[in-house]
């Protein structure tokens, strides 16, 4: 593998407080401080002029649908989307079919990853058997098999007692618990945020309180058990405040926000278009402001996409019957830049930190840094380039994106994994 010499890029590496125009060197798949004169002569040179070079992006919340729903996406195509979005490490949710609640399924997924993935794909396991919320999954065995966290994904564990035992048990293995915070008793048949817009549209509402209750529960259980609970895709302003207060008390919790929850509101649903249907639902401008403030002050730790592919024919339905979820990986960076950098004056290093070092640190992943000796996982992007996203021309098997056909600003130019270019701005280098 030839050495890489990235020249004249704005290198942003929050882990090392680096934010300056300069060069980056890669040898044998690792970041190095410099290359020898001989290596420089042979190195592949990448011109980084006017580009940002940062650690490869890290997303701890994606759905690659393999095994079981590979008509929507599979690990190969999911990893291609990741590469095209600048992501070099992603963490898959366990709501596959069958769910990843036993070591056999985990091993199968790992085998496919080894065979097909072009970026680093990691797995989570279930909290409960088949995500039914009834009995604990073999959490210790799952940990041994290599899962990086446990979660029942969209099937939030409703029993407080079972969740308490899961926390106590997972703590033995220092496994973080990720939770989609939803009290199901308050969201039966709900398809969008409960409020003024749902009142007008006649759609069944999903109240903020259903999220807030579980966030509160989790803060209490994290305090009581000492386990770490990570709250997925926070969408409610009250939930942000609950997390803020718990963190002030030193409770071991963390939280994520998605690009779509900071960019879109429930008003988008006025045309009943299922491409805006997701869970938790898009909420109000007030919720959105609170989430952005949470990202600013550290209450919300990271950005994660919840990349959730569904085919056209599955989404092309009456709003009530369409599945929840949208694609996220290929649009995450430009959308986040638009909202946080351009509209809310976050610094570029802060945005990069939310999508690299911080998510990696949360799950203790060897990623998110350009430190000398670290794996050469690098993302090069042009923060100013405007382009039009065509979901059907993208890398997913699906095209369910609210940004399909929209002009975005900020474009991935090169994605490098272990020193190997896996995306060159146009094509993914398949395995």
């Amino acid at each position: 593998m030839p050495a890489l010499w990235i020249q004249n890029a704005r290198v942003i590496d929050p882990a090392n407080k680096r934010n300056a125009v300069g060069d980056l060197f890669v040898k044998n798949g690792l970041i190095v401080a410099d290359l020898s004169a001989a290596d420089k002569k042979k190195a592949k040179v990448i011109d980084g002029t006017n580009l940002v070079a940062c650690p490869g992006l890290v997303d701890i919340h994606v759905h690659f649908r393999e095994p079981g729903q590979t008509h929507k996406e599979n690990i190969a195509t999911g990893s291609h989307c990741a590469a095209a979005g600048g992501f070099t490490t992603v963490v898959c949710m366990p709501n596959t079919s069958p769910p990843a609640s036993n070591t056999g399924t985990i091993q199968y997924i790992k085998d496919v990853i080894k065979r097909d993935a072009v970026v680093k794909v990691l797995t989570t396991g279930c909290i409960t058997v088949d995500m039914k919320g009834e009995a604990l999954a073999p959490i210790g065995s799952l940990a041994k098999a290599g899962v990086v966290a446990i979660t029942d994904d969209g099937d939030c564990v409703q029993s407080n007692e079972l969740m308490r035992r899961a926390c106590e048990y997972a703590k033995m293995f220092e496994l973080p618990i990720m939770d989609h915070c939803q009290d199901h008793s308050m969201t039966v048949d709900a398809v969008m945020n409960e409020g003024e817009v749902s009142a007008r549209l006649g759609l069944k509402g999903w109240p903020n309180a259903a999220e807030d209750l579980i966030v509160s529960r989790n803060a209490i259980l994290a305090t009581y058990t000492g386990a770490h609970i990570h709250m997925q895709h926070i969408s409610s302003r009250n939930a942000v405040e609950i997390i803020r207060r718990a963190k002030d008390r030193g409770v071991s919790i963390s939280a994520e926000a998605t690009p779509h929850h900071i960019a879109l509101t429930d008003k988008c649903i006025e045309g009943y278009d299922p491409k805006f249907k997701m869970n938790p639902p898009l909420r109000t401008a007030e919720d959105q402001e609170a989430i952005i403030e949470g990202l600013r002050d550290g209450t919300i730790d990271i950005i994660a996409t919840d990349h959730a592919p569904h085919t056209d024919y599955e989404k092309d339905k009456e709003f009530d019957y369409a599945p929840n979820g949208i694609l996220g990986l290929e649009t995450a960076l430009p959308v986040t830049l638009d909202i946080l950098l351009r509209k809310n004056r976050f610094s570029l290093p802060k945005v990069v930190d939310l999508m690299t070092r911080k998510p990696a640190d949360l799950l203790k992943l060897a990623a998110g840094t350009l430190s000398v000796g670290a794996a050469a996982d690098i993302c090069l992007f042009d923060p100013k380039e405007k382009w039009t996203y065509d979901a059907r021309a993208g890398f997913s098997k699906s095209s369910n994106s609210p940004w399909d056909g929209e002009e975005l600003q900020g474009r991935i130019k090169t994605t490098i994994v272990d020193g190997r270019v896996v995306y060159d701005g146009k094509n993914v280098r398949k395995r």
């Binding site: 409960e194 409020g195 003024e196 817009v197 009142a199 007008r200 549209l201 006649g202 759609l203 069944k204 045309g271 009943y272 024919y313 092309d316 339905k317 009456e318 709003f319 009530d320 019957y321």
Partner: protein, 314 residues
């Protein structure tokens, strides 16, 4: 002014002039209903499909009768007889209906927004006959038509809608039309069924029956469903009736000339006392008759007919 709409999906999007056009056309068609031969050739040769994927009695009959009064051929499909029971999508079902050369589709569906969805994928007119808790435009049209028959102009009139507003498509369509006509609308009922955020519809929300009914010129009752009690929306039917049922004593709070309306079916003794439902203030059966005339007008206009004449704004 000519009628330019192909579909009737919501009343929210209709202007005052368009509501006037429909009412004026309905008024002319209503005269036909009193003739010995209750039929005109306006839609002769046209085929209208009533796709009712949710149960309905009076709306379905009224649409069917309205189409026949205009000499159209009608075909009715319900959930049991359509291929949706075999897993066929709404898109495919509707596209097949179009491919069978239907000229218009009237759709009742439990999912809000489904008529809008069909209007985007079909080349024939789509008439919303009720989409979940969203809208029931022809009900709103027939209700306001009935009010105008009795009260004349609706501008500044005090209209109370009482009952399960949260889940009511009838309420939403009436609210939209009444706002356009300039009426003053108050929603009243238990806070679980009439939540505060309904004020976003541009109406007053109240849980105090007495002050809401005081001097109201129209009270429109909505049916209370037993399922709502099972879902914990109120403690019992008995409690609902004791708190919000319309009885003689409470009807006395209304304006002396007030009318009482109900889209049906009525739960006698629950949301309304039987004497009131059958009494002189009740226009409940007028609503049913007007439902034919209004639906004739909607079918006729959306099929490309033009208003015969337009009355001044009421």
């Amino acid at each position: 002014m000519s009628w330019n709409r192909r579909h009737l999906l919501t009343l929210e999007e209709l202007s005052l002039a368009e509501l006037d056009q429909i009412h004026a056309t309905a008024a002319s068609f209503k005269k036909i209903l009193t003739r010995s031969v209750k039929k005109v050739p306006a839609l002769r040769g046209k085929t209208i499909v009533n796709l009712f994927l949710e149960p309905s009695t009076r709306t379905r009959m009224a649409f069917d009768m309205a189409a026949k009064r205009l000499s159209a051929d009608t075909i009715s499909l319900d959930a049991k007889s359509s291929s949706t029971t075999k897993g066929e999508s709404l898109r495919d079902t509707a596209q097949n209906i179009e491919a069978l050369q239907a000229d218009m589709i009237v759709v009742r569906h439990s999912a809000p927004g489904s008529p809008l969805y069909l209007s985007k994928i079909l080349g024939i007119p789509v008439i919303n006959a009720g989409d979940g808790a969203h809208e029931h435009p022809t009900q709103g049209l027939l209700d306001t038509f009935t009010m105008r028959e009795r009260l004349g102009s609706l501008k500044g009139r005090r209209v109370v809608i009482l009952g399960d507003i949260l889940y009511s498509r009838v309420a939403r369509s009436n609210i939209q039309a009444l706002k356009t006509f300039g009426a003053d609308v108050t929603l009243v009922g238990p806070s679980t069924l009439v939540p505060k955020h309904l004020e976003a519809l541009g109406v007053t929300v109240s849980h105090d029956l007495r002050s809401a009914l005081a001097d109201a010129e129209v009270v429109m009752l909505l049916r209370i469903q037993h399922e709502r009690q099972n879902a914990g929306m109120f403690p019992s039917i008995g409690e609902y009736t004791s708190m919000f049922g319309l009885n003689q004593q409470r009807a006395a709070w209304l304006h002396p000339n007030a009318i009482i309306m109900h889209p049906g079916p009525i739960n006698r003794g629950v949301e309304i006392d039987s004497e009131l439902a059958d009494g002189p203030r009740s226009v409940i059966l007028d609503q049913v008759t007007n439902g034919i005339a209004v639906r004739m007008a909607v079918l006729y206009l959306c099929a490309g007919g033009q208003p015969e004449y337009v009355t001044p704004t009421g």
